[in-house]
């Protein structure tokens, strides 16, 4: 009888992957997992009801690790009943069956199968297992979320290192964890630099459009099958990306082709892809032009009030900037600008020159600021994206606009490095 042997090898492979996530394993490839960031609170598998297939799959893998093969087969059949296009589940089922026919050495024992596809599915198994075992960030928030505007009902945070999109709801200004979803990112990983590099950008973005299925078909025809049930474009490249010479376009949140339940963790051309059912779930929460999408490599989870001091120091700087502008003391106003400042068209010298001449012709200025959102930039705690509604009135001209500033902390002082219309 070969079965006990199989039990050992397959179970060991999965146990290695699932139960000691910080170690590298041969069976699932050896990309190291970043360990869970310090002490997330909350119950494990908190969103399992939302992600039932993933939970079932994970239970299958755990059953295999425990050498409970009959249970594992029953679990995987449950998954496949619900989601007949769940390729990873088919792979695991194949393994469970193949293990009865002959010894196999780990996940994805399909003889002669294309190695890249097997590797993709193994990565998905690993990503989903890690996700399943992650504690949910109940009462924790990503440190990036400093402040939401009252009309921003939700914010999406993508942790590319966990292949996960988190949804937070705005509970009177405090972000509250709602759900998280398995997400596919760019084939070549993160930190998009240029057109066609098949990487997912890291940064602070906003949803700029809504392309439901019918719209996709109308606009793109059958090619749009790739996006599944819908798509939400985001504003890559944003001001900060352009400033750094990053190129490319068409980074979307979207679904997956209808012939599959999900895609491997790294498979898109740079977009963030969710299963179609998950995409539909978040689509109810999207506000075009309003909903922020923050894409990070690793999230720093903090208590909700940990953002307070940063938020307040930014708010103070913003208030001073506003008052100094109103004072028409242009040099006081200009001290808020970094030497690295650029509006995209003007550097600090040109900007200063223009402001001096404009302000000189005015007898009064009133600046109202409202609806302020603040986000720390992923990967750079000294950069904040501040967006607000500006109500500008002066002796000779008035206007209202939505404005976005990038503030950089320089020697403990926040200074503006970019300013423009949002």
């Amino acid at each position: 009888m070969t079965r006990p042997l199989i039990a050992c090898t397959l179970a060991a492979a999965i146990a290695a992957a699932a139960l000691t996530p910080s170690s590298t394993t041969l069976a699932l490839g050896n990309r190291p997992l970043s360990s869970a960031t310090g002490g997330l609170l909350g119950s494990p598998g908190g969103s399992s009801a939302l992600n039932a297939p993933e939970a079932l799959l994970a239970q299958t893998l755990i059953a295999i690790a425990g050498a409970q093969f009959d249970i594992a087969l029953a679990e995987i059949d449950k998954v496949l009943n619900q989601h007949p296009n769940f390729r990873l589940a088919h792979l695991v089922k194949g393994d469970l069956l193949m293990a009865r026919a002959r010894p196999i050495s780990g996940i994805g024992a399909a003889p002669g199968a294309p190695a890249d596809r097997i590797a993709d599915l193994r990565e998905e198994a690993r990503a989903r297992l890690v996700r399943h075992q992650q504690e949910r960030p109940v009462n924790r928030v990503p440190s990036n979320l400093l402040q939401l505007t009252p009309d921003q009902k939700h914010v999406f945070v993508v942790d590319a290192s966990k292949y996960t999109l988190y949804v937070f709801e705005n509970d009177n200004g405090t972000p509250r964890y709602v759900a998280d979803y398995y997400a596919t990112i760019g084939r070549n990983g993160i930190e998009k630099l240029r057109e066609g590099d098949k990487k997912t950008p890291l940064g602070v973005y906003h949803v700029t459009g809504n392309l439901p299925r019918e719209q996709l078909t109308r606009t793109y025809g059958s090619l749009s099958e790739l996006y599944g049930d819908g798509a939400f474009p985001i504003n890559y490249p944003n001001e900060w990306d352009r400033r750094r010479g990053r190129t490319g376009h068409g980074i979307w949140l979207h679904g997956v082709p209808f012939d599959t339940y999900s895609r491997p963790p790294q498979a898109s051309d740079g977009c963030v892809a969710l299963t179609n059912e998950d995409l539909l779930a978040i689509s109810r929460r999207v506000q075009v032009g309003v909903t922020p999408v923050i894409i990070a490599q690793g999230v720093d989870w903090v208590d909700a009030d940990a953002a307070k001091s940063t938020r307040e120091s930014l708010q103070r700087s913003l208030d001073e900037w506003r008052r100094d502008w109103e004072s028409r003391d242009t040099e006081r106003y200009l001290r808020h600008y970094s030497r690295e400042f650029s509006s995209g068209k003007q550097d600090l010298a040109a900007w200063s020159q223009q402001k001096r001449s404009v302000n000189a012709g005015k007898s009064w200025i009133k600046v109202g600021i409202d609806g302020v959102s603040m986000f720390l930039y992923p990967g750079n705690d000294n950069l904040a994206v501040v967006t607000f509604s500006q109500d500008y009135a002066s002796s000779n001209i008035s206007n209202k606009m939505r404005k976005r500033q990038y503030w950089q902390r320089e020697n403990g002082h926040w200074r503006i490095v970019h300013e423009g219309a949002a």
Binding site: M1, T2, R87, L88, A89, H90, L91, K93, G94, D95, L96, L97, M98, R100, A101, R102, P103, A110, P111, G112, A113, P114, R117, I118, L121, D259, T260
Partner: protein, 357 residues
Amino acid sequence: MTFKSAAARLAAIAVCIGLAAPVLAQGDELQEAQQLLKQGQTDRAMERVEQYLKSRPKDARGRFLRGILLTEQNKPAEAIRVFTELTQEYPELPEPYNNLAVLYASQGQYDKARSSLEMAIRTHPSYATAHENLGDIYAKMASQAYDKALQLDKNNQAAQTKLNLIKDLFTGAPRPPKVAVAKAEIPKPPAAAAKPAPTATPAPAAPAPAAAAKPAVAAKEPVKEPAKEPAKEPAKAAAPAGSGDSDAVLKTVEAWAAAWSANDVSGYLAHYAPGFRTPDGEPRAAWENERRARIAKPRKIEVRVEGAKVSFSDSNRATVTFRQHYHSNTFKASASKTLVMIRSGKQWLIQEENVGG
């Protein structure tokens, strides 16, 4: 579709299985029918069987043979009905379950095939054919699951390779007649006149049990879990043969495995008797060519013989059963194997080679 042929082959195997046990000690009509079937005269065989069944409509052996003939006539639905009824009336018989499974498998209904085989094994835990078929079914189901997992394009070269590999498992070269019977014969003590009947049929040696409707029962006692590790010590045959003969036979088997392991084609082929019964009745040259390709090709082969047991039906004829562990750079399998060996001068040569037993 390559799969079709695999299925057809399984069905043919079923015919062998079925024929062996129940039919042997039958009335003239049944024997004739069997003879006709062997000659490929399926329709005439069917006439005989139906005539036979007219007077004995409940007769299990007749109905079993009818099921096989229906399978041969490519009437799977009717054959399934026949075997299903047999499983209902004789739930203790593994063969109808096995054949049902083969038919289901040929239709791609692997879940049904699997449960039928599991029933066959439940009735007969040592039923090697069912174990092997079940392994095949699992491999086939796994292959289906893998196809879905990998969304393999059928034109994709890699996909082809993969499917062929699994089909190899399925139709496995050194496997052919899955003689359900061979095992019944081996440990059979001399008491029951165990005639290996070597020349005519693929080792239908099982003495037809008295209650022929229960061939399964007869097989049950002597075979103790062949799937489990056989005794390390080669059992000395109870039959009238010197222990020196037994050693000589075992040495031959070891040498045969060694030649195979060494990719030594001519050394390997030299172990086969001139009258060797090729697995599918193909011409000797064709069989040799196939073996040559298979043995010469892999970069590395290791064939290990484990727990060999020898029994002698007479002083010139021995049956060796063992567990064969085959391991190449591309493929790995373990199976029970039965070699029927004949004495030729000073040496022993392989007359028959069967998987199972």
